[in-house]
Symmetry: C2
Subunit: 364 residues, 2 copies
């Protein structure tokens, strides 16, 4: 089927760009001797996860237990929930899942350790357990050093748990646009992980994994010899937010290509300089800023509510016709993906694949 026959709004993936991104990150990992455990929170798709594993990834991350279930059901053998998991309901699901695959999770409080241990014992399984440290983002995580060592000791003693290492992701640093400032903050976060690793070594606790990193900072976590696991997600797809993140030369980072688009139809042409599209905030997330039109710079995006947006052109001769289809670059890839049930894979202007987004809406 030719792309222009696809009804809209649709979430399309440029397969050439997608495969190039997959390859670029895999090559980076091999070059620097660092494992990839890409984040399935971005793609929520077992088909995509399988492709990452086929390129050498040691497994996947998820943020939710229900995402982990979807990935294990989709054939992924090693899944790490890189997030705190509270309450026996979720922990028992995770402990049950750990009978079928290698499962681990992250903690920042003794109560979480006690609950996870109880669930693993109840289900006669084993859960890997990592301590999250606050690298500077002030979200979850204990402070580096002694507080982390204290939790690690508790994990090491807890029945049903194996101590795996540290979670040290610096979310807030990913979108610092200036390269030097992003580097400075990333290195500060990396140093916190290093000091904590050393404190753990002093009490005989080795870190199998020191993991973190995102698409904005992976070059430092991946090359300074402290981290051995990169949990990158957005590199596969890219979005307007990451196109604002600059490299050392002050240019937008260019190693990854835009592969994800919202395909949309001009549903109204109410003025000579304006086209209304059938994609609003239910089709293209605006949580981190607006989407932009692909392949055309001289056009302004105007919010139009849940089911519409407008494109306002400086040159009225460029305005697409009623019924024309256009590609939008999502402002933020992850929440956009979470609103769709399928990726439409496209190559050379033709549909080549449909991949189900099996963990769409997986919140638990």
């Amino acid at each position: 089927m030719p792309l222009d026959q696809v009804d809209t709004p649709a979430l399309i993936v440029d397969l050439d760009a997608f495969e190039a991104n997959l390859e670029t990150m895999a090559a980076f990992g091999k070059k620097h001797g660092v494992n990839l455990r890409p984040h399935a929170k971005t793609h929520k798709c077992a088909v995509v996860g399988q492709k990452q594993v086929a390129k050498g990834a040691i497994g996947l991350c998820t943020q939710k237990v229900s995402e982990a279930e979807a990935m294990v059901q989709g054939g992924i053998a090693d899944v790490y929930v890189s997030n705190e998991v509270m309450g026996p309901r979720k922990l028992e699901r995770l402990a049950a899942l750990a009978r079928e695959a290698k499962l681990s999770l992250c903690v920042d409080h003794p109560d979480q350790i006690a609950q996870a241990s109880a669930a693993a014992v109840k289900f006669k399984s084993e859960l890997g357990c990592r301590v999250e440290i606050n690298t500077g983002g002030n979200r979850c995580g204990v402070e580096p050093g002694e507080p982390a060592v204290d939790l690690a000791k508790r994990i090491a003693k807890a029945p049903g748990l194996r101590f795996e290492g540290l979670q040290a992701y610096f979310g807030r640093a990913q979108h610092i646009e200036d390269w030097a400032e992003r580097k400075t903050q990333s290195l500060e976060g990396i140093d916190k992980a290093k000091r904590t690793q050393e404190a753990l070594a002093k009490v005989g606790l080795a870190c199998t994994y020191i993991g973190g990193a995102g698409t904005g900072t992976y070059e430092w976590e991946g090359s300074t010899g402290v981290y051995n696991e990169l949990q990158v997600g957005s590199y596969l797809f890219m979005d307007v937010g990451y196109h604002k993140v600059l490299d050392a030369k002050g240019k937008p980072m260019s190693e990854f290509r835009q592969s994800l688009f919202v395909y949309s139809t001009v549903m109204s042409r109410p003025a000579s300089n304006r086209a209304v599209l059938d994609a609003g905030v239910k089709a293209c997330s605006v949580d981190a800023g607006p989407p932009r039109l692909w392949g055309e710079d001289d056009v302004d995006y105007v919010r139009g509510g849940d089911e519409h947006c407008s494109l306002v052109y400086k040159n009225p001769n460029r305005v697409p016709a009623l019924g024309d289809k256009v590609k939008l670059v999502p402002g933020h890839c992850d929440p956009t993906v979470n609103m769709y049930d399928w990726y439409v894979g496209v190559r050379g202007g033709r549909v080549e694949s449909l991949w189900p987004i099996v963990a769409r809406g997986a919140l638990l």
Copy 2:
């Protein structure tokens, strides 16, 4: 099941508040002799739609053909797609559906009329057709008066279509916070509908329906004698955005109660004044501003990405404990609903119903 046993994040509906809202709007319609055709774009749930029809609504609106399919399949006999529909794929789905229920749609261009007519003829069905006018929002719609009359004449002549009237919704006016300014703009929009109705009458085209209105402006469209159909949606649930909309006394509008909540768990307590919840932008939409904590004023909401948010308390004694569950009022109800598969209906602290959100993600 007690509410506190519900795993999180979950979308919960306070059934007492929900039923009061349903009743309040139904009573307004009866008092003013104006029909209700509530908007299913808000709730996307046939169970809720059935309740609206049981209270006297003449049918439902949707914004998408796929939403209309979900509502007809759920037993709604009269559905109006209050939006332009482009392309034979969608129009043929709508024409096929029109064999099973009364269906109508809205247009603002002759090409849409030709396409809708062709689809209705092909499927031997009939589609109601209304002309959308631009009431001031500058989104879709032709200008009031002659341009609308021109389209209405085309509809009246087109095989398979029946001319139904006008679509005159003023989206941008809904959230004007000041009452007097909101009233002024609403009345200007209403006047445009009235003038267009009069121009249509002069050429012998009667409007069966003149519809529009939202929760912010329904009091004027519902009481000035021009509109005969209110397409309100958010009144059922309410959200932070509508709590900022003021009444004539400068107080937040109070006729509708907050009935929709995102139920969330404290998953981390990393600092004495701060709790991290398991609900980020994938659980509670931020497109129209942040959510807020229900029942507590002295607390700041801090964005935490896709799967987290933080509550920062001025009084550390008020911070909930790790594992506690809290209720968030969504910033914007519609896109929040669109991320969930179920409503959990709650009364007196106990779960009473589970309603499937059958049109969740219905984008086509």
